[in-house]
């Protein structure tokens, strides 16, 4: 199969400029039984997050007398890919992603306020098109805020990288698969501390600096969208429904 040109005349495969994000839609409070919830539709990604807690820590022997444990589970649904039907259950990839997402929120949640408890963050990827982990972190932040779980700050996540020789923001599926580098990153809203950082591919130092700049800029757009979603869910009287 011929590899497509990822950038032609400064335009990406889907017509975007290097610094453009795909369309993002965030909705808070879509589930009734979860303490907090959010849906993020990012390009063709659809990720839902539900939060339970703080609640009794199970198993009891894992509980910390000083703080709440943050637990995170990221899962792909079997119908999330246009290709084959996926298998149910955790994979090595989903296990790693669950861990790095948990480590984002361990920085932010004021866990010492709820000793001996756990806070469960459940992320389900319903539809995938490159960038599910950054969409997941974005959703989880909104769900935790929706649950009223105290946090020092919000967090927005985005993937930057290199494709067709250009540094780009928000990699799509092909750019992720065929490009030169992929850097998922998450920034706390106020101080822009880096709470998630992963990478594959090759970047020079200058390219990395540019990528981080672009990521920071893109994350501010996500910050605003998260705040808007939370504001909307508190303004009107609405029923909690998942509209995909």
């Amino acid at each position: 199969m011929e590899k497509p040109e990822l950038i032609v005349d400064g335009k990406r495969l889907d017509g975007r400029a290097p610094e453009d994000l795909r369309p993002v839609k965030i909705t808070a409070g879509i589930l009734n039984e979860a303490d907090g919830s959010a849906l993020v539709e990012w390009g063709k990604n659809k990720v839902i997050c539900g939060v339970h807690g703080p609640r009794e820590c199970i198993p009891r022997h894992e509980a910390s007398p000083y703080r709440a444990l943050v637990k995170c589970r990221y899962m792909m649904s079997p119908f999330a890919s246009l290709d084959e039907h996926g298998r149910s259950g955790p994979s090595r990839r989903s296990t790693e992603i669950s861990k790095v997402i948990r480590e984002v929120f361990e920085n932010l949640v004021l866990t010492e306020k709820f000793p001996k408890t756990q806070i469960d963050v459940y992320i389900e990827v319903l539809q995938a098109e490159g960038g599910t982990r950054v969409a997941s972190i974005t959703a989880a932040a909104v769900a935790l805020a929706d649950a009223g779980i105290p946090m020092k700050d919000m967090v927005a996540s985005i993937a930057v990288g290199k494709a067709g020789g250009h540094i780009i923001t928000d990699l799509g599926k092909e750019e992720d698969n065929l490009g030169e580098s992929d850097v998922p990153i998450a920034f706390s809203k106020r101080k822009k501390d880096i709470l998630l950082l992963q990478m594959d591919g090759l970047l020079t130092k200058e390219e990395l600096v540019k990528a981080i700049d672009m990521a920071e800029k893109g994350s501010r757009e996500i910050d605003d969208m998260q705040a808007e979603a939370l504001t909307k869910s508190y303004e009107g009287a609405k029923e909690k429904k998942v509209h995909l």
Partner: protein
């Protein structure tokens, strides 16, 4: 001007020692979603955090020699000592009590327990309880009159409605208040809703 703040948003250029907020470098930030109105911060959500003096509605979920474990909508049970009670309680009994003290971990001891008749417990968000009670208990009185039974509201987010009341009406009314708690004119709207229901 009223605006919604999210965790990490600035709520004051001074250091304030208020719940659901923290101070850093002389500035105070919100930790949960809330309203910020002319410098006043009203947090909107959050788990119930017991404070001595709170009135709570609870369910007896375990009994031991020295007392009972009470479910008051926290991640661990509260406790009421046998010697603090004038009555004997059974599993499943519903009580109205006061929070006596709370330890560093958040476990609560209760006192002044009164057994309530059988009834339905409806969960209600703790941050919206003031709306449920209303100014000078106006909303709560309105509800009690219309459901024709006893209603007790716990600060802990458990509302008890006695079994002879019109429970479906109580549930519907609470749903209405829950969904519109942040809007004004709510007492009138609820009064109108209850009138309509009576007519049916």
């Amino acid at each position: 001007m009223k605006k919604i703040v999210v965790p990490g948003d600035k709520i004051s250029d001074k250091v304030l020692h208020i719940p659901h907020a923290y101070a850093e470098d002389g500035v105070t930030y919100a930790t949960v979603i809330g309203f910020l109105d002319e410098g006043r911060y009203t947090p909107l959500e959050g788990r119930y955090k017991p404070i001595p003096g709170d009135t709570v509605v609870g369910i007896i979920v375990d009994s031991r020699r020295v007392g009972y474990s009470v479910d008051i909508n926290l991640s661990s049970s509260a406790f009421v000592a046998s010697r603090d009670l004038r009555i004997k309680l059974n599993l499943g009994d519903i009580i109205l009590a006061k929070v006596k003290e709370v330890d560093e971990i958040g476990n609560a001891d209760l006192t002044d327990a009164k057994k309530l008749k059988p009834g339905k417990i409806i969960e209600f968000p703790t941050s919206k309880i003031p709306r449920l009670i209303g100014r000078k208990s106006s909303m709560l009185t309105l509800i009690k009159e219309n459901v024709r039974g006893d209603v007790e509201v716990g600060n802990n987010g458990y509302v008890w409605v006695s079994e002879e009341s019109n429970i479906p009406l109580a549930i519907k009314t609470l749903e209405l208040i829950k969904s519109k708690a942040h809007l004004s004119g709510l007492t009138d709207e609820v009064a109108g809703f209850l009138q309509k229901e009576k007519g049916e």
